[in-house]
């Protein structure tokens, strides 16, 4: 009934790979965010160092982190993402 009969569609192989990349990116994003924020931000406030006027934890976790993620998204999209035709190119698939 459900997914079992799913025909092999080469487009789905590409889609599955891209979804895995998405999971990888979000894990990396979380680790970067968490690591810098609590790694540098957990000490007493008096001992904070500052970059461009911002506390270092905040600068690296939030500001730099955003640029890193933007850069990574551009990189993976340009390098790994493939263009596929989204329309129905095979004959009508039986939806049951």
């Amino acid at each position: 009934m459900t997914g079992h009969k799913e025909k092999f569609d080469p487009r789905f192989k590409i889609a599955h790979r891209e979804a895995r990349i998405g999971v990888g990116l979000v894990l990396f994003n979380f680790l970067w965010w968490f690591g810098f924020a609590y790694g540098l931000g957990s000490k007493p406030v008096e001992e904070y160092s500052y970059v461009l006027g911002m506390p270092a934890w905040f600068f690296y976790s939030c500001a730099v982190g955003s640029f890193v993620m933007i850069g990574l998204v551009i990189f993976v999209v340009k390098t790994f993402f493939k263009e596929v035709d989204l329309e129905e190119d095979e004959e009508e698939e039986n939806p049951s």
């Binding site: 009934m1 459900t2 789905f12 590409i14 006027g53 999209v77 263009e83 989204l86």
Partner: protein, 479 residues
């Protein structure tokens, strides 16, 4: 009335109406009314797709409630808000091309259509999901309208009721006449306004506070916790803040108004562009808006009502005419969320309930009349509900989001990638998700120091898996 502030807002409203009327021409020209009205005939390009995603999601909570919370919590709240950067790429990457292809195969116009196609036309799945969408998004909409009206109230000095009236009429008119295409294109315009609005107010606030270093010193002198990641009283624990990655980060994938956009784009190329643009825009806006909220504190100390932080700081640090332009941004944020919700609830009523079960043979003309009519009736009922507004804007809003995420994230994601998932799994997942959310929200809020959404999402995952595995045999027999 402060005309220098009001004129840019009026101009903004006018442009939105023009877009609405432009979009009606498409509706007249297309053969498939439902596909066009509720999905824009799947013709969105990269920029519009990215903007409509960000704008739909970046709602009153990011532009009004969020900066207000950052004002009282400090940099820890900016940190929390940065979990939303993930939404810029995660939704489109995970649902991705497979969702777009499947949606086309099922000829799905709504998220419920997709679920219907995936889960063997199960009536229970369709009705359960339609009901959850209608209830939850209706309350989310009301919360947003209150935000929009409060904003107009504080900007123009009109009474709350007149402000709500102006807001309601503007939104209802262009959504009814223009449908999804009008919503998406106005979202793009609103997204651009939000982007530049954020930029201007960020610069204005840094300058007014005497530079970043100065602002941070002022904050530290007031309360050192404000520059720590732990909130003004140290109550933002890492675990609590991290759990927002589910609520406003990855969980967003389960929001019907977001997911439906992932089936609306024209080509893979457009999706690729949207990934890049979306990530840039969402990262910048979340960072900028929340940071402005924190920096507003030394400049305008002692603001009592959190929702007024944004408008107050804009009027304080910018010349009036520029403040008018910038304040069109939160207005845009709210409108672009509300319009999407209104259309989504309307599509659920028309497409998922009426056409599925009430009158499947409705003529094209009838469908058209019903669609316009339902959208109008919904809009007017939300207006009526918002007349005596509930106080907790964020609360209502997040309640709706959390409930929907718990209901839909697994039926959508596992339905896409796990071939053993079936309708029993989906039904269990929706029931457990919504049920657990409502119960935990009321009797055991924030279990284990995490946001309420965490546990229901986990439970609905377990429910989906177990129910699907237990009913594998039945599937074979039925076959």
């Amino acid at each position: 009335m402060n005309w220098e502030v009001v004129i840019p807002l009026l101009f903004f409203l006018l442009s939105i109406f023009i877009i609405g009327f432009w979009a009606t021409r498409h509706i007249a020209a297309k053969n498939d009314f439902l596909q066009e009205y509720f999905l824009g005939s799947r013709e969105l390009g990269g920029l519009i797709l990215a903007m409509t995603m960000v704008a739909t999601y970046g709602s009153a909570s990011s532009f009004v409630g969020g900066p207000g919370a950052a004002y009282s919590q400090g940099l820890g709240w900016v940190l929390l808000s940065m979990s939303q950067v993930a939404t810029g790429y995660f939704v489109l990457m995970i649902l991705g091309k497979k969702f777009a292809i499947k949606a086309r195969q099922y000829k799905a116009v709504t998220l419920v259509d997709y679920l219907k196609g995936r889960y063997d036309n199960s009536k229970v799945v369709v009705l359960l999901s339609a009901i959850s969408i209608i209830i939850f998004l209706f309350s989310a909409m009301a919360a947003q309208w209150v935000g929009g009206a409060r904003l107009i109230e504080s900007l123009t000095g009109l009474s709350y009721t007149s402000a709500l009236f102006i807001f309601a009429v503007s939104v209802i008119v262009y959504v009814i006449i223009g449908g999804f295409r009008a919503v998406a294109v106005t979202d793009a315009l609103q997204g651009i306004v939000m982007f530049f609005g954020t930029l201007i107010i960020l610069i204005g606030t840094i300058v007014a506070g005497g530079g970043m270093e100065n602002i941070m010193t002022d904050l530290m002198n007031e309360n050192p916790n404000l520059v720590s990641p732990f909130g003004h009283d140290g109550s933002l624990t890492p675990r609590y803040v991290s759990s927002f990655w589910i609520l406003v980060g990855v969980g967003v994938i389960g929001l019907p108004q977001v997911a439906v956009r992932a089936m609306s784009y024209k080509s893979a190329k457009g999706m690729h562009r949207a990934l890049i643009i979306g990530t840039i825009v969402v990262a910048f806006m979340m960072f900028g808006m929340h940071l402005v909220g924190v920096m507003a504190r030394p400049i305008l100390p002692g603001i009592e009502v959190a929702d007024t932080v944004m408008p107050s700081i804009a009027m304080e640090v910018l010349p009036a005419w520029l403040a008018g332009i910038v304040l069109a941004a939160p207005m845009a944020a709210i409108m672009s969320t509300v319009d999407s919700l209104l259309l989504l609830v309307s599509s659920t009523v028309v497409k998922d309930v009426y056409l599925n079960y009430v009158n499947p043979d409705a003529t094209k003309k009838k469908v058209k009349t019903i669609s316009f009519g339902v959208t109008a009736v919904l809009g007017i009922s939300v207006f009526a509900m918002s007349l005596s507004p509930p106080d907790l804007l964020i609360w209502l809003n997040l309640f709706a989001f959390g409930g929907l995420e718990s209901a839909f994230i697994w039926p959508v994601v596992l339905g896409l990638y796990w071939s053993k998932g079936n309708k029993y799994g989906a039904i269990t997942s929706i029931v457990v998700g919504v049920g657990a959310y409502s119960i935990i929200h009321n009797i055991w809020p924030e279990p284990f120091g995490m946001h309420t959404v965490t546990l229901p999402v986990l439970l609905s995952f377990i429910g989906y898996i177990i129910a699907s595995l237990l009913t594998q045999d039945e599937n074979k027999i039925e076959h």
